[in-house]
């Protein structure tokens, strides 16, 4: 009876994707972001912005979605648009799922390409404006401002 199912199992083994998209996004986070943002996304108070339990709040205010990609660390990443989109979606899902609005549309390569080409000249001012709007609208403060 094993005549029939061994080829089936072998076919499944060969076809099975050993490296999933989530594995790659996680590895891209580790190699490109984690050094500063840390394994849990919490950053360093006063030095590196916290992502954990906060990043998704930017999606609730005008310009926040764009800012998330325009910040230098993201816009200047060595990752291509597709892998960068995957990392950003992975970060939102893994570090800030509860803050992501229900109608959120994940990032894709085209949007990343468009936004990263339109970088910010004065990041700190933009960040301060967005954090003020977030605090006013959602009543939450950033845990660690840079």
């Amino acid at each position: 009876m094993y005549r029939t199912e061994f080829p089936l199992l072998i076919a499944m083994l060969v076809a099975s994707p050993f490296v999933t998209a989530a594995d790659l996004a996680r590895q891209d986070y580790i190699l490109n972001c984690q050094g500063c943002h840390l394994a849990d996304g919490s950053g360093a108070p006063g030095k590196v912005p916290n992502l954990k339990g906060f990043l998704g709040n930017f999606l609730h205010v005008p310009g926040g979605r764009e800012y998330m990609i325009q910040v230098p660390g993201v816009a200047h990443s060595v990752l291509d648009n597709g892998r960068l989109a995957a990392v950003m979606n992975w970060v939102l899902e893994n570090f800030s799922r509860d803050q992501v609005p229900p109608d959120h549309v994940p990032f894709n390569a085209d949007e990343i390409g468009r936004l990263r080409a339109d970088g910010l000249l004065d990041v700190n001012t933009r960040r301060a404006e967005l954090l003020a709007t977030i605090e006013k609208k959602l009543g939450v403060k950033a845990v660690t401002a840079p």
Binding site: Q27, C33, V48, G73
Partner: protein
């Protein structure tokens, strides 16, 4: 008319299948497929940084950790904590480990795998001065701060005084970086 014809074909096929196979055989193959499918994720495949905490060290770890040529030191720029009263994984007494780090990959010559290495600086005392290494593989210029190792990476520590560097293994890289 056509239904009779369909009935006949179906009956013939069913009887022929029933003669060639057993019900237990069918259940067995379904079971084998299900178990095989469920077992796939358990195969020993590298998963980058899978799980929290320090991953198990590689089974083969050749070389001398106090030598610049040691494989984990492939991107280092600084003093080896192994020569400064600490180890590859721990800071010497009187210093604390910077949480903010330089992360790269190094190939272990024993198993040919690329390991994700975190170069954490130990901070709080002046430069150790022993075993200075400057291999810089995949080091990037200062305008790529995330992958430039010339910076002082004592960030988030009580002191910014750099003493030495440890080489922590975060996992095995699943793809070349």
């Amino acid at each position: 008319m056509i239904t009779n014809w369909l009935d006949a074909i179906t009956e013939r096929m069913t009887r022929s299948v029933a003669q060639r196979t057993s019900r237990r055989g069918f259940l067995g193959s379904v079971g084998a497929t299900l178990i095989g499918g469920a077992a796939l994720p358990l195969l020993p495949v590298a998963r980058a940084g899978g799980g929290d905490g320090q991953p198990a060290p590689p089974s083969q770890d050749p070389g001398d950790p106090t030598s610049c040529d040691y494989w984990r030191n492939c991107s280092i720029d600084g003093y080896l904590c192994s020569c400064c009263g600490g180890s590859m994984n721990s800071c010497p007494p009187g210093t604390d480990m910077s949480p903010v780090t330089w992360i790269g990959t190094c190939r272990n010559p024993a198993d040919g795998k690329d390991y994700i290495i975190s170069y954490n600086d130990c901070c709080g005392k002046n430069s150790c001065g022993a075993c200075f290494c400057n291999r810089n593989e995949r080091d990037r210029p200062l305008y790529r701060p995330g992958t430039a190792n010339d910076y002082n990476w004592c960030v988030g520590t009580k002191s910014i005084a750099y003493h030495c560097t440890v080489t922590l293994i975060l996992g095995v890289a699943t793809t070349p970086s």
